[in-house]
Amino acid sequence: MDAMPKWADVVLIPVISLVLAALLSALVILAIGENPWEALKLMVDGAIGSTYGWGYTLYYATNFIFTGLAVAIAFHARMFNIGGEGQAVLGGLGVALVCLYIPWPHWSLALLGGTLGAALFGAAWAVIPAYLQAKRGSHIVITTIMFNFIAAALLNYLLVGALKPAGSMEPSTGKFPEPTHLPSFQDMFSTADTVMFRGAPANITFFVAIAACIAVWALIWRTRLGYEIRAFGHSESAAKYAGISPTKIIMISMTISGALAGMMAINNVMGEAERLVLNAVEGAGFIGIAVALMGRSHPFGVFLAAILFGFLYQGGAELALWTSIPRELIVVIQALVILFTGALDNMVRMPLESFFLSRRRAAQRKSKLTAAE
């Protein structure tokens, strides 16, 4: 029997962890000499206090949903894909090639093409480490992290060479043509009288990310492939007994993982920058690991965790803008959140479990007493 009701496991533990992380962050802010309450208000105001703030929060969240899902699906096959960063870089390359070299008549088709390009390039970058793991036993953690560096170097090479427009001094591609520009939230939600999400980068890709969440959920928990992936993740020896090929599962799960990480590029490259620049990913690949951990590898959890990290990113930027709190402090706060929700999970879980156990026992004693009467 489980020690706690499910809601406590899914909701209460993350919330308590978050509160603890927030309290500790407050102490740090206090030590800097700022008012933590004011800081929190500023963050909330800046990140979710206006449609403009939401426009940024959801933009960041979209990136994290893709990279979080990528890590999550690999986790289910007990693969630790920490190459989301590199796969997202390659996804950006895929998007850029699709947008620059194919004449698209309309953004909707371009979105489809861009998604395919991003997924294909991201997947390709994950397939090589997967193959090395499945066939040669090279550890996926080592190979995927090395592929991050190769991806960065490759992009650098292309952006100062083949992909740079003639005469440009900047290491980036040229601007993507007009028909590939995706509708932003401003385009989608503004009415004749009021402008919503003014200038914010959130765009239609957010809905693609939600669709990806649903698709991953269905894949993992509703399809035979998902059943096999989870079975393999739980027990490789049992999977072999059942006739599930380890090679097949490693290759497929990493392909999907890489494709999801790559798809982040339709948000940041196609939706926001509208050209490919250096360091477009900005560490979102690594945030994806924290998001997947915090979301317990469940697509819905990943969605919520991504929104939270989007909030921290945008709120943090606001803090740096308006107070003397340095931007780096946001990294500290994020680290605390990861620490409490990921690494120190048991610190919150154990006391909570014994609390629920003792409560249940008391309830039983009481029901026994009433029965005796």
């Binding site: 059943y227 079975a231 027990s235 006739g243 599930i244």
Partner: protein
């Protein structure tokens, strides 16, 4: 009249809603061997953990030699003269035997004098009780039998008068177990009190003076061993009449279903595991493979089940099956009518974190009956599980419970239900009753015989010779990757089979049981004879 060496009065202990021990009282007289028997989960280990200070009882008292004691932790237990030998040894593998014995009981900050004293005492103990060990060997280099003797020595070195052994023979070969029982006999003669916890009736009958039976947290009876029978004890354990003998009629073998010709297997490390195996299994018969664990039986099952490659020829219903190519996996084997209950249900047969309803489809999850469109049909899987659970009396009958939360016997019933209900032509079954309670053993044996009577071929692998003798219609004995010979269970005995298991040939009349046991202790361990 002497006071009992140990007396428990009204011990109770609950874990959450589970009452693990309920009002338990026992008296154990000094200089006796007292057995505690019961099924898995009956509360034996909890009771002993209370006695050794790991758990605190909710109620009840403990008396040692007539004096009431409080056992708060294991230090207090040791001080009271209680020594414990756990099922899983608690030794430091990289320390020597001597260092392990002294560990935690050093005389002073300096190690040398303690070790020297321990060495002297060890010599005396070894001579007195047949507790021979190699003091300077590393624990990781010695066999399990000697590791267990180290555990006993640890307790004796700490001046234990009461020795508790928890399922001590679980990891031992029969010869090692006999050695252990000789040691216990010697200890008893010297006035030590021994509590032996086990679920094996035979050990209780052969070694104990008195025996207490536990069932569902309660002590159901305490009797003199000489005044009881295995039948009675089994009934007390399970709470109903139990058939200890398998009830079966002579087999009526039909056509050859499985024909294995010159099968060879070499494992990842390059070790030649199967060396030219030839065997046949016919419809309507059970072929039992006897042998000491590690002589190739596992590999035989794995090749047949499709997750180990091999060379040679295997004919299933007359047509060859793929041993190395793309059709050599578990899925293809199932398609050919081969079902497999693997030796290790927790590592292979089940996904322990999957619910029962997910496990019921495991291996058959690509079947159309579990599918609607691109998705799995959860409703069909749940319904299938409910039916199978009812038919195989799986308890609790809750399809949504994770496999790891079922007892060993019920886990095995889930695997068995899944494999048997497919109506296979051939059933491979390894260690069908390992870690399974008596009540469930009876049920599982009945199912295997019933399947045979339906005209199916069954290949049974078990390290329990009794089980092989009880179930098989023919017995093949494996040693070092070879089949040493086939015997008719009605015309052979444990001695002859034991010889074959030890790799010995010749007339059984020419060798003694002791010679066989000596060789058996090394069979399958990879050590040199």
């Amino acid at each position: 009249m002497t006071a009992p060496a140990i007396e428990l009065k009204g011990i109770s202990k609950a874990f959450g809603p589970v009452q693990a021990n309920k009002d338990i009282s026992i008296r154990v007289m000094p200089g006796t061997i007292h057995g505690i028997i019961g099924e898995n989960g009956a509360g034996k280990s909890t009771l002993m953990s209370i006695l050794y200070g790991f758990y605190k009882a909710d109620a009840g008292e403990i008396f040692i030699s007539g004096k009431k004691v409080e056992i708060r932790d294991s230090q207090a237990a040791i001080a009271a003269g209680i020594g414990m030998v756990f099922q899983h040894f608690k030794l430091v593998e990289t320390f020597t035997v001597l260092e392990n014995i002294v560990l935690g009981a050093e005389d002073s900050g300096l190690l040398r004098p303690s070790l020297a004293r321990a060495r002297r005492e060890l010599k005396a103990l070894a001579d007195e009780y047949e507790l021979n060990v190699e003091p300077d060997a590393l624990v990781q280099d010695i066999g399990v039998g000697m590791q267990q003797r180290v555990e006993i020595l640890k307790a004796l070195y700490r001046k234990a008068d009461i020795l508790i052994l928890d399922e001590p023979t679980g990891v031992l070969t029969p010869a090692e177990a006999d050695h252990l029982f000789r040691i216990l006999e010697n200890l008893r003669r010297e006035g030590k009190t021994i509590i032996l916890i086990t679920h094996k009736l035979r050990e209780i009958m052969e070694t104990t003076d008195t025996v207490s039976v536990m069932r569902r947290g309660q002590m159901t009876a305490t009797v003199k061993t000489s005044e009881t029978s295995p039948q009675e004890l089994a009934e007390l354990m399970v709470g109903r009449k139990v058939l200890l003998q398998v009830d079966k009629t002579p087999s009526v073998p039909g056509a050859v279903i499985l024909d294995v010709q010159n099968l060879n297997v070499t494992d990842d490390k390059g070790v030649h595991r199967l060396k030219g195996i030839n065997l046949q299994v016919r419809a309507g018969e059970i072929l039992g493979i006897a042998g000491v664990a590690g002589n190739g039986q596992s590999e035989l099952l794995e090749v047949l089940g499709g997750y180990e490659k091999g060379t040679g020829t295997i004919l299933m219903n007359g047509t060859p099956i793929d041993l190395t190519g793309t059709k050599s996996d578990g899925q293809s084997r199932r398609a050919r009518g081969i079902a497999h209950v693997p030796e290790d249900r927790q590592r292979e047969g089940l996904i322990m974190d999957y619910a029962a309803w997910e496990n019921i489809a495991f291996g058959y999850h690509l079947d159309d009956k579990f599918r609607t469109g691109p998705f799995m049909n959860h409703a069909a899987m749940l319904q299938d599980t409910e039916e199978k659970m009812a038919r195989f009396d799986v308890r609790p009958p809750d399809p949504k419970l994770a496999a790891k939360n079922f007892s060993g016997g019920n886990q095995q019933k889930i695997v068995l239900a899944r494999e048997i209900e497919r109506n296979p032509d051939l059933l491979l079954i390894g260690q069908p009753t390992r870690g399974v309670d008596i009540g469930a053993i009876e049920f599982i044996h009945q199912q295997i015989v019933a399947l045979r009577d339906q005209g199916k071929a069954i290949l049974l692998v078990s390290v329990e010779l009794e089980e092989i003798l009880a179930l098989s219609d023919r017995i093949a004995v494996m040693f070092d990757g070879h089949i040493m010979g086939e015997r008719d269970p009605a015309k052979t005995d444990e001695k002859e089979l034991g010889m074959l298991m030890a790799g010995m040939t010749g007339d059984p009349a020419d060798v003694t049981v002791a010679q066989i046991e000596e060789r058996l202790a090394y069979a399958g361990t990879g050590e040199k004879v």
